[in-house]
Amino acid sequence: MTFQKKGRFGKFGGQYAPETLMNALIELEREYDRYKQEDDFNNDLNFYYKEYAGRPSMLYYAERMTKSLGGAKVYLKREDLNHTGSHKINNVLGQVLLAKRMGKKRVIAETGAGQHGVATATAAALFNMECEVFMGKEDMERQSLNVFRMKLLGAEVHPVSSGTGTLKDATSEAMRNWALRVEDAFYVIGSVVGPHPYPTMVRDFQSVIGREVKEQILKKEGRYPDYLIACVGGGSNAMGLFYPFLEDEEVGMVGVEAAGKGLDTGKHAASITRGSIGVLHGMKSYFLQDRDGQINPVYSISAGLDYPGIGPQHAHFYETGRAQYVSVTDDEAVEAFKYLTRTEGIIPALESSHAVAYALKLAPRLSGDKIIVINLSGRGDKDAYTVARYMGVDINE
């Protein structure tokens, strides 16, 4: 079929949503297409990126890391320095500004690690909107600090205990709640997932990452990098970094999935590496599932990567070979977490530690004239408890 359907990336994507949501999705697409071309909207967004979120984020040359690895030059894109501590704010500011323009009074969101929930609650506080966040019960236990932050910001946090009590179920519950409140609520999806137009819209809002990297690396190195490395759960920080480089074929792209306790243990979240094509949460993409199409429970030490699928455009990148997808275990991620903390004095989020871990393998194999950019998508303060527990250290008073 040569005819490309709306919202498709090759055969992936689409709009597999209940009828009750269809007009809301069509309206969202229309309004997004309209506002993204308006100077007024973009000026507003850029104002908040700069004055509120602290953009542009730095592209930092990790000199000690580079020397210790003895190979390619390593740069870190410091999304961890954004307000609220991760790249999630880029997308949320865009969507909440759009919601405001569409006259919505309430935003709802799903969250895994809590970073997207915190970012959404933050933007809701800033723009004086009601905010409800759906979060898996298990994740609420793993990320109690973020739960408290969201509550401080005025959000209502709903525990989701159905299914596996993690991000997948929080997403399902947020979609159910949206169907109920579809006329006055705006659903702020946190990654490049979901029915069209979400994967496109979230990609566009996150693309500020890659656009900045282009400018910054040209200034520092006079050329584009050889590799971009980012972790992928749903894949928004990776997409934000990759997408502006799509046409620059000399730039390699590597998405790093969570291999959890190992790809052969069944306890992982490597949707591309070990998944198959399916449909969930409104999109056709790669999912971890059984032969009947039942979605498998997934696992990662990092709550933000604990999702059984991946954004449809990543699925397309994988299938066309434009990007490469690898996986990193819990053990490797925690080693990288400790490594970056000790080597550069930067505590990375466990999600981002997966990207760092892959760079630890790749950089030494490359010559000194090669350049790697790692997306340091979030800061690791939120993971201190998890890592302490992993290391067998008791930090409770």
């Binding site: 009750t20 269809m22 109920l180 039942q294």
Partner: protein, 264 residues
């Protein structure tokens, strides 16, 4: 002729409305499901929907979610459901409809799925997460096997109703309310307005579902359409039963009261 079309013609001739009931296949096990199908038919259900259990039923409320979880815990596979339907079909005459999520069909293989549906005696399929825009992925397979893909319209469908109704088969599933399936005390929708819009476009039978759970609801709503769908309230009767025998009695009694309200 598809059993669904035939059923609505018969009912029309008798000046009756369709009572459509739902159970989740395999809740608590498939032998009970077969007994429930037979009992619902004998107590006056005109069409029976069978939910195929799914791990992530995004259009279902808590009652059917729990039923799905119970069935999956027992390791129910779609193949087993097909076999159970085949056994039920030996005596059951009413139209049988599957309700399942698109991913289940995709993994089964659409061609295989619809031909197995036909072979086991299924007449229609409802796919809550496959809107009009994505239907062409399976419409051909379904039509080829004579299985009706049932289309849904909701109070938010508005201008979409035209194209949905025009391509609908069997009957139009009218969603009573925003949100997901599940019992409701009252309905916020302006049904006069809702059905005025639907009737502008729909020239096939219309059945109303989502939240209909009591004989009072049936009396209140049957005037609007050609059939009413009761799902979660039936599943709740299964849930509150201690064993299969009790489930059959509870469901049977419940369907009987619904039938009575329908025929008053």
């Amino acid at each position: 002729m598809n059993r669904i079309d035939k059923k609505f013609e018969e009912l029309k001739a008798q000046n009756k409305k369709a009572l459509i009931t739902f159970v989740t296949a395999g809740d608590p096990d498939l032998d009970t499901t077969i007994l429930l199908i037979k009992e619902m038919e004998s107590q006056g259900a005109d069409i029976i929907e069978l939910g195929i259990p799914y791990s992530d039923p995004i259009a279902e409320g808590p009652v059917i979610q729990s039923a799905n979880a119970r069935a999956l815990k027992n390791g129910i596979k779609i193949k087993n459901v097909m076999e159970a339907v085949k056994r039920a079909r030996e005596s059951v005459k009413v139209p049988l409809i599957y309700l399942l999520y698109f991913n289940c069909i995709l993994q089964y293989g659409p061609e295989c799925f619809f031909s197995d549906c036909k072979e086991s005696g299924i007449d229609g399929v409802i796919i809550p997460d496959l809107p009009f825009e994505e239907r062409d992925e399976v419409q051909g397979c379904a039509d080829g096997c004579g299985i009706h893909l049932i289309s849904l319209v909701s109070p938010t469908s508005r201008e979409r109703m035209g194209k949905i109704a025009k391509n609908a088969r069997g009957f139009l599933y009218c969603v009573s309310s925003l949100g997901v399936t599940g019992m409701r005390d009252r309905f916020e929708t302006d049904f006069d307005d809702f059905f005025r819009t639907i009737n502008k476009y729909a020239h096939l039978p219309k059945a109303l579902g989502f939240g209909i759970s009591t004989a009072e609801h049936i009396r209140e709503l049957k005037g609007y359409c050609d059939g009413l769908i009761v799902g979660s309230a039936v599943v709740k009767q299964v849930e509150r039963s201690r064993d299969a025998g009790e489930a059959v009695i509870n469901v049977g009694n419940f369907v009987k009261t619904l039938r009575k309200a329908m025929d008053e």
